[in-house]
Amino acid sequence: MDDLLAVRNLDFYYGDNHALRDVTLPIRKNSITSLIGPSGCGKTTLLRCFNRMHDLYPNNRYGGEIVMDGRNILRDDEDLISLRNILGMVFQKPTPFPMSVFDNVAYGLRLKSVRNSSVLKEKVERALRQAAVWEEVKDRLNQNAAGLSGGQQQRLVIARTLAVEPRVILFDESTSALDPISTQKIEDLMVELKKDVTIVAVTHNMQQAARISDFTALMYVGALVEYDETATIFTKPRHKMTEEYVTGRFG
């Protein structure tokens, strides 16, 4: 078992608000790790530490470390642009940019100065196929992405993230705004993607966590309660709180 990321004694503060308390957990390579827990427990906050999204806002502070390839990515001199190329993120609501379907997927590639149009075309098609949305959009690549359905938009956003070939993708309740069929497609896609990338997914949907993830971490008021293989978490957890939470008696 390889750890791609190691979260060690991580603290996080929104100004005076101590939102993460001494969180330690590994993220295994080529696996899906689910983050679960009641609303406000810090799942999003933890997820956004991985790609340093908190740096966009003033007064946010990290403590402890997240180690990747032997390096603490929370260091002040970390290059955030290349870090975010390695750790992609998919948000709760689809966020298509106000441009064509093609330009959306090509966005990250163009940022990396890929200009050659045949290379762009090939990579865009590959990403859209990988995100299981190619068949639905191949005839409307030049139309505005806002015209796609919510589920298609979310898969487009996943394709946009995949196009830059990240090593990790962070999903923040990425299926919670979607219908069951789109959700199913994205779940299948996540499992399929494990070959190439490592996935960390925040979810409120216990069945989803049980179905797709290899590891599950339960959080409660900013702290990690329990981390283990998903099967263990759902069948014989060590903590009573975990058992109550996954069976829906708590939270």
Binding site: M53, I81, R84, G88, F97, P98, K112, T161
Partner: protein, 281 residues
């Protein structure tokens, strides 16, 4: 029951008052437009666009070609300065400077600047540009118009960009985009139709201004390509011709008023149609 009746009556009274006020405003606007249309269209001749001004009371002669050109040049020069500075300034306020108190102050001051009477801007520019430069000139006129355009474009840009949700910026940041790229490729694109409309309305507004030009570009009877000397403009010409006792000049003023009103109306309508198309498409 009686409470409901009371609320119904209050509702009817409020609605009637509001409707009456709207009707009064609309009525005045229609009267003005009707007057300009009837008098102006009747006096409209091709020579308005092709001839130089003629002395009064020579029927069938005289036009305002210099004023048309001058108006165009003044508006163009003002826009070339005012629009980019306004857009970039507004961008700074909405993005890089959003956490600074000083930027909030600048926004508030710009809001005030939008409502400064334009004659005050004219006298201000007279003091800082016309006097030191030794006489009326078109550049001063353009500067006065630019001062009017700037806060309008600045605030519209800032507001339109602030309305773009942060989630969209975050999505671009999450792909490793630097801030300047996020602004140019995502935020501007989302806010584009709003910013463009603001620019159009600001330009339309200065195209119809007289007061700031009276003390700056003033007027001239000579046809000239350039802004180095006193520069004729339609609005100032209308002002002077309409106030004259000569019938031929008053007629010319009506015709010019018709053309200016029509152009400004066209710009406004174009702006609004543009928003509609953008919203639907």
């Amino acid at each position: 029951m009686s409470g409901l009746g009371r609320r119904k009556i209050v509702n009817i009274v409020a609605m009637s008052l509001a409707s009456a006020c709207a009707a009064a405003g609309l009525f005045l606007l229609l009267v003005i437009l009707y007057d300009v249309l009837v008098e102006g269209a009747g006096s409209l001749r091709l020579r308005l666009f092709t001839q130089d001004p003629a002395p009064p009371n020579i029927p069938g002669a005289g036009g305002l070609r210099g004023a048309f050109l001058g108006q165009g040049l003044l508006t163009l020069a003002a826009s070339v300065v005012g629009v980019p500075v306004g857009v970039l300034g507004g961008t700074f306020l909405a993005e890089y400077g959003r956490h600074y108190k000083i930027c909030r102050l600048i926004s508030a001051l710009s809001d005030m600047a939008v409502s400064i009477p334009s004659i005050v801007i004219g006298t201000f520019v007279y003091a800082v540009l016309v006097k030191p430069m030794g006489g009326f000139n078109g550049w001063a006129g353009a500067a006065a118009l630019a001062v009017i355009i700037l806060p309008v474009v600045l605030r519209t840009t800032e507001e339109m960009m602030t309305m773009v949700p942060w989630s969209l910026r975050e999505a671009a940041f999450a792909l490793g985009a630097p801030y300047c790229k996020v602004i140019t490729s995502v935020v501007w694109r989302s806010a584009m139709s709003g910013i463009f409309t603001g620019v159009l309305l600001a330009v339309a507004r200065v195209a119809g201004e007289t007061a700031p030009l009276l003390f700056t570009s003033f007027n001239s009877n000579f046809f000239q390509l350039g802004l180095n000397r006193a520069t004729p403009s339609l609005t100032v010409s209308i002002y002077q011709y309409a106030a004259s006792p000569y019938e031929t000049w008053v007629e010319t003023a009506w015709a010019a008023a018709f053309v200016v009103t029509f152009l400004v109306l066209l710009l406004n309508v174009a702006g609004r149609i543009f928003i509609k198309i953008k919203k639907v498409g």
